[in-house]
C-alpha cells in the first residue's frame, strides 16, 4: 500500500528493545504494511504517553511518521492488551513464541492481512485455553501455509500415492510426507498415522474448532517435534523462544518437582 508522510495503521507489537536513555526500537506487524521496525521516543519515561500502549503482544492503533532512517511512532492507542491480571506465565510464554515465529518467518514491508488476523486470533486464543499446545500447533501450520511453506500431509511428495498406514515418513527437506518406497530420496523420519491425520485436520480447520481435537500426550509431543523443527528448518536458525523453553524445562526438572509443559 502506498504511504504518505504520516500514516495510521493497526499493528501488533512483536518486540521492543531499549535504545539510549529512554527510547525504544519496536518491531511491529502492521495490518497495512506488514512487518516493520519503528522508533519510539521517550517511551521508557514513567510519564510517557506511548509507553503502556507499546508493550510487546499488544494490539494497537498507531500513527507513524517517516523518520530519517526509521519510521517514528507518534501516537498509539491500545485496541487490546495481551496480558491482564488473569494472564498466567504459560500464556505469556506461548504469546512470546507466536510473536517470535511471526517475526522470524516474515520479511519487512510485505503485507499480509491473513497473517495479521491469524496472529490476533491466536494471541487471544492462547490466553483463553488452559492448554495452548493445540493452538500453537494450529498457528505454526497456518503460518507455514500462509507463508508458502505448507507441508504436504495427504500424499507422498515424490510419487503422489497414498502412503501405507504404518510406513509414513516426514522430511523437512522435501516439506511433507513420503511413502516407504520414496523415503530414501530425502532425509526423513517416521511419523505416526494419527499425527498425519491431526496435521490434516489442523490445516483445514478454523481457530475455534482446532481446540476440539483431543490428542494423547505422545501425539502432542510428536506434532510439536515435527512442526517446531520444520519451522526452524524453513527459517534456517533456532528460535530463541524455543531455546528458552527447552532450557526452562531442563532447569525446572532439576530444581522443581513438577516441570511444566507449555509448547
Amino acid at each position: 500500500m502506498p504511504r504518505q508522510y504520516t500514516y495510521a495503521t493497526e499493528a501488533i507489537i512483536l518486540r521492543r528493545s531499549s535504545v539510549g536513555e529512554t527510547d525504544s526500537l519496536v518491531t511491529l506487524y502492521t495490518k497495512s504494511y506488514g512487518k516493520m521496525r519503528a522508533f519510539a521516543r521517550g517511551v521508557r519515561k514513567p510519564n510517557s504517553k506511548l509507553g503502556g500502549h507499546l508493550e510487546p503482544l499488544n494490539q494497537v492503533n498507531l500513527l507513524i511518521t517517516q523518520g530519517r532512517s526509521l519510521p517514528l511512532i507518534t501516537q498509539a492507542d491500545m485496541i487490546q492488551g495481551f496480558y491482564t491480571p488473569s494472564t498466567n506465565f504459560e500464556a505469556i510464554v506461548s504469546g512470546c513464541y507466536i510473536a517470535d515465529c511471526l517475526d522470524a518467518l516474515t520479511v519487512e514491508e510485505v503485507e499480509s492481512q491473513s497473517l495479521y488476523s491469524l496472529a490476533c486470533r491466536q494471541f487471544k486464543q492462547v490466553q483463553a485455553v488452559e492448554n495452548a499446545q493445540t493452538q500453537l500447533r494450529f498457528f505454526e501450520l497456518q503460518l507455514l501455509a500462509i507463508s508458502g511453506y505448507q507441508p504436504e500431509v495427504n500424499v507422498c511428495l515424490y510419487c503422489r500415492k497414498l502412503p501405507k498406514r504404518y510406513s509414513i515418513y516426514f522430511s523437512f527437506e522435501a516439506g511433507g510426507i513420503l511413502c516407504q518406497d520414496c523415503k530414501n530420496q530425502f532425509n526423513c523420519f517416521v511419523i505416526s498415522e494419527t499425527s498425519t491425520k491431526a496435521l490434516r485436520y489442523l490445516l483445514t480447520t478454523e481457530t475455534e474448532d482446532a481446540q476440539k481435537i483431543r490428542m494423547p500426550e505422545a501425539i502432542q509431543k510428536e506434532l510439536a517435534h515435527v512442526l517446531t523443527n520444520y519451522l526452524q528448518f524453513v527459517i534456517d536458525r533456532r528460535l530463541q523462544s524455543l531455546v528458552f523453553y527447552h532450557r526452562l524445562q531442563k532447569w525446572e526438572s532439576s530444581v522443581i518437582a513438577n516441570p511444566r509443559t507449555i509448547y
Partner: protein, 192 residues
Amino acid sequence: MSRLIQAFNRLPGIGPKSAQRLTYHLIRMDEDEAFALSEAIRDVKEKIDFCESCQNITEANPCAICMDSSRDHSTLCVVEEPLDVLALERTGSYSGLYHVLHGAISPMNNVGPNDLRLEELLARITTIHPHELILATNPNLEGEATAMYIKGILAGTSVTITRLAKGLPMGSDLEYADSSTLSQAFEGRREL
C-alpha cells in the same frame, strides 16, 4: 591508543567516534585525573562483589542492608537490578530486605530462570522463612513473566506473595493512559 579506543568502543552506548573522542580527552587530561580513573576502575573490579545473601553489589559481604538489625528481616523485596534497590531506598518507605535477581525472564531473548539469581532466592526463602515476599519487578512483559513465575514456583509455601500496585504515575494524563493501566488503577482504587 588503539587498544584504549577498542576498550571504550566495547562500552554500552559508545560508538567508534565517541571512543576516539574519549581517548583524545584522556590523552589531554592531567596525569593525576587519569590515574584516579584507572584506579577507580581497578577498585571496582577488585573490591565490588555480590552480597552472598541479597545478591546486590557491595563492598562488604554481607552488605550493609542485610547486616542492619533495625530492618525488618521478615520481609523480602525482589527486584530486577541493583539500581532498583537505590530507587526504593530513596523513597524511605520500605524497611525490609531485598533480593536482586540481576535480570528478568524474557522468552524472546532466551533469558530463563537459570540466568537469574533465583536458586539463591529459593534457598534464602527456605532458610529465613520470610513472612512476606514483595515482587517489585518492572510492570512490563518481562517483569510480569518473572513475577508470575516466582509466584508459580512458590505456590504451596507459607510465604505471602505480594506485587507492587499498578496504576497511574504522578503527573500523567488519564486521556493518554493505556486501557490495561487504567483498569488496574480502577481495581486498586482506595477510599480517601
